[in-house]
């Protein structure tokens, strides 16, 4: 008779397991949306992708128009929008291309679009500055003249550090002193034990005075 409640529970679990993906799937596809900015771009142009509706904080956006899949990242906490950027493929034909987003462990097909046209949109500047109009690379601002020595007197950063963190001389000095101290303590305690066993009790109590 006990098998009936067990069977009922098992059946209930099976129903939940069957229905859950369907419910989750319907919600997810309806919730995820990808927005491309600018929505109309030229081949070779940079675009930004903003994805809403993913529960996680990472994902990927793909499109035949993109030069590479977009790695999406967002702020902590699920449910916030995810962001990424990439470039439209050069030499791509005009048209509308669909964007697919992979997040929360599944594909969300056709959740956004991007229009590609060879004619520059009117709101873009006609005079396109050189690729390096804003700085993009780290600066070269040092000749290395102070890199040879560590100078604690000057609060400088120009020091060669082959290891991160500990300065070797201080470490060795500190460990050496600690070793000397440990040896001294051990030596003293062995002498104390020798003195204690000399009085015959050998229990190791008291200091080395060995009161009789």
């Amino acid at each position: 008779m006990r098998s009936v409640p067990i069977a009922l529970r098992a059946a209930g679990a099976a129903v939940v397991l069957v229905l859950a993906p369907m419910a989750g799937g319907a919600y997810a596809d309806g919730g995820v949306k990808a927005t491309v900015t600018p929505s109309t771009a030229s081949p070779g142009a940079d675009i930004d992708v903003r994805v809403q509706g993913c529960k996680g904080t990472t994902g990927t956006a793909k499109s035949p128009a993109f030069v590479a899949d977009v790695e999406l990242t967002g702020r902590d906490g699920g449910g916030n929008p995810l962001f990424g950027d990439t470039t439209i493929k050069s030499g791509l034909g005009d048209g509308t291309y669909k964007v697919t987003v992979v997040c929360d462990g599944r594909d969300h097909r056709d959740v956004g679009t991007v229009h590609v046209t060879h004619r520059k949109p009117t709101h873009e500047p006609t005079h396109r500055p050189t690729h390096h109009a804003t700085p993009v690379a780290p600066v070269r601002a040092g000749g290395g003249g102070t890199a040879a020595f560590a100078a604690p007197a000057a609060p400088g950063v120009a020091q060669t550090t082959t290891e991160s963190g500990l300065g070797t001389p201080y470490t060795l000095l500190g460990l050496g002193l600690a070793a000397v101290a440990a040896v001294a303590v051990a030596f003293r305690s062995s002498r104390r034990q020798a003195a204690a066993s000399g009085t015959g009790t050998g229990t190791g109590t008291g200091s080395g005075t060995g009161s009789d």
Binding site: H131, H132, A133, T134, P135, V136, A137, P138, V139, R140, A141, G142, G143, G144, G145, T146, A147, A150, P152, A154, P155, G156, V157, A158, Q159, T160, T161, T162, E163, S164, G165, L166, G167, P169, Y170, T171, L173, G174, L175, G176, L177, A178, A179, V180, A181, A182, A184, V185, R188, R191, R192, A195, G198, T199, S207, G208, T209, G210, S211, D212
Partner: protein, 225 residues
């Protein structure tokens, strides 16, 4: 009889000295491990500001951006930096070109970019050293949040910025948008950039950039005349 009181007295003395040496050794080692200010090696990566930031220190509120004007002079009193500013452009790699090594005392400003005091990030670059001696931004990595940076502009106004972040960015993994881009919309910001990390003698370059980030907190208009 006991082995005598004299060995016991010296025994305590030796024990005491041994403990003192042990504690001294551990203290010296601990100073190195915690890498506090005054440590003998500088961090090569990460958030320097976290090392010296007092807990719960409040930074002053941001000042509204002021009318743009080109910079003429920059001073960081807490680091002893006071230098003229010259406008610079980009080099072939897309990095701001600092003043030549023959002018190690001058600070470069990316002239095509934001002017100090206007909304956005104004970029100042200076050498940490030449191939023989320290240069204008040698002490930059010692900046800490709360430090003041004063920029005197061509219109006579002195714009005062407060440092809110000091970070080391390695060349190999360089986050240009965080170094050169504004961090909060609508705010007037300032970046002081120099080299740091370890020096690669073969390549002739440092391994990282030290970036001090500050935001506008005051402006004093010089009364003309």
């Amino acid at each position: 009889m006991s082995s005598g009181t004299r060995p016991a007295g010296t025994g305590r003395l030796v024990t005491g000295v041994a403990w003192a040496l042990l504690l001294l050794g551990l203290w010296l080692w601990g100073r190195e491990v915690t890498e506090g200010p005054g440590g003998s090696s500088a961090p090569t990566h990460g958030d320097i500001a976290a090392v010296g930031r007092p807990l719960g220190m409040a930074l002053p509120p941001a000042h509204e951006p002021i009318a743009p004007a080109a910079p003429r002079r920059v001073e960081v009193p807490s680091l002893g930096i006071a230098a003229p500013v010259v406008a610079r452009g980009l080099d072939a790699t897309g990095a701001i070109d600092p003043p030549p090594f023959e002018q190690p005392h001058a600070v470069g400003w990316f002239g095509a970019g934001t002017r100090p005091g206007a909304a956005g990030a104004a970029l100042l670059v200076g050498h940490v050293d030449t191939d023989t001696r320290p240069a204008v931004f040698y002490g930059l990595s010692a900046a800490r949040p709360g430090a003041k940076v004063r920029v005197t502009r061509t219109d006579g106004t002195v714009a005062e910025f407060t440092v809110d972040d000091v970070q080391v960015f390695p060349r190999g993994d360089f986050d240009a948008s965080r170094v050169y881009g504004r961090r909060e919309p609508g705010r007037a910001e300032l970046r002081l950039i120099t080299c740091g990390g370890s020096f690669d003698r073969a390549a002739g370059t440092y391994s990282a950039n030290v970036v001090v980030s500050a935001y506008l907190t005051g402006a004093v208009t010089r009364v003309p005349g």
